[in-house]
Amino acid sequence: MKVLNYMAIAMMAVALVACDSDDNTNTELTGEGTTRIEFDNSYSGSDLLLQTAFYSANGTEKIVIDTLKYIVSNIQLETEDGTLFTVPEDASIFIVNEADEDSRFITIENVPAADYVKVHYGIGVDQDKYLQGADGQGDFLNQATAQGMMWSWQAGYKFIRFEGRFTAEAQPEETAFAIHMGSHGSSLDNYKEVTVNLPVSAKVRTDITPEIHVVADVSQLLSGEDKLYLEEKSQIHVDPDKSPKVATNASKMFTVDHVHN
């Protein structure tokens, strides 16, 4: 009986330690878990609605967005002490498509249990991946072609597809716009790395699957640090001046709103 009591106490202690472990250093954690990252696309604080809603760009243009897709790749999670978990490359590339809810939730498996405070990822496809040939692309190639995220005249990915219609004071008639940003062969690398800080740490455990809620403020694409006026140019494809601006703006449109543990 006594033995059983001791055992019960010991088990409770273990259980308490386990509960407590959030406060301990990561090195004491073992096992692996799963985390999910949600890419929630918004426009200046409002939910992004495709095809119907009007939004203002740079205060002078009115836009309707029909398509928003972008490539997220090379995901890394970072703990307080700077330990990086790099998601294996072939499981670390996704197309976020506003029109497809499932695509906005990225699930990352086999993550070492730890408290993560930062997420790093890329927008687009890095140059190394191209140079790896077929090996570098894996089945992502199929997804990308199926989603119209590759150009048909160059063997390259569109990192962002942002399409819709706009009007401006000088252009009252609704006009189509399309921004397709990617790298320009070996001439211009538009791949950008993004780091977002988590307001509270994401506590990955064997039995806890945190969800990191990333908000992308799509208004930044046109109205961000580098202003882009559709009136000036409404078709941006391989534009060595404007494409890098789109890339920079895109890399700055992400924040983490909250984390569910």
């Binding site: 790896q132 040939g133 077929a134 160059q154 063997a155 062969g185 070996s186 001439s187």
Partner: protein, 348 residues
Amino acid sequence: MNLFKLLIGVSVLLMGCNNAADDYIGLPTPVNFEVPANFPEPNYDFSANPLTEEGIALGKALFYDGQLSSTGVVSCGFCHEQSFSFTHHGHTISHGVNGEEGFRNTQPLHNLAFYKEFTWDGAALHLDLQPIIPITSEVEMNETIPSVLSKLQADPKYLYMFEAAFGSDSITSGRMLKALSQFMLQMVSANSRYDAYMRKEGEQLTPEELEGASLFKAKCASCHMGELFTDQKYRNNGLPLNSNFPEEEGRMRASGFSDDFYKFRVPSLRNVALSYPYMHDGRFGSLEAVLDFYTDGMVDNGNVDPLLKRDDGSFGINLSASEKTNIIHFLKTLTDYEFIQDERFSEF
């Protein structure tokens, strides 16, 4: 008797099916890539895609298969004909599905293992990725990769060939592209009379050819350099703009930079006597016309390569009529007849 034959036939067929479905398929047979003695080191990373007999055979089947196009008839080999060093004979610009026309001349295929970038404007950074362009281009094969894969998946021949080449019958874009690369990597053209002469294999060049060779070295080889006869750079050679294709921008199309306007990759001159017509738009029908252009036809289209500037400020290369004749004699020594007849590459 006939029934007996039929039974044997059926049982062979059944055995064939059995093999494909259940039996162990041996490891693919490695193929060594031989670098010709007078060639540079290859650029292609063979460790990422080791050549095998089965991989090459699969690549060849794919290369000549019209299923890679939306209409089922335009294969890679449709525009890349072996007899003409894998160019589209008789076409200034290439034709795709439903008679659609592109706006560039088919480039020859040879020695691709030695190149860093592909197509006239460098739109592909890796040989494995190049086929995506013709497969998906509306004016070429007008297909999508997933659709091609589902056609291949429905074809028992390919289930067997993919398994033989890659160890399982999973048909993926990566494997398809690797197999196509394997087939194309094999296309090494290094057995012209010029090569035999360079490698001292007992071949002699005529005095005219030798004179042409030294003129070529002095006047052409700063761009058409080395044993590949190209520096693999993009240059504007002062072509008058082609009014049929006002959208043509050369490498600017791939880079966006206005400095790249009307620049095209310096083409290799191996097999050049076979790969007519010439230039990105196939505007010149003969080597004579090309050399006449370099002496008298160049224009200042705003971005001409400084190497082509004469001392007096005009653009062009100074060549007499007899010099041109000798250069052409030399260029014809670059024809590799073994290559264009090599059964490893032929459709039938």
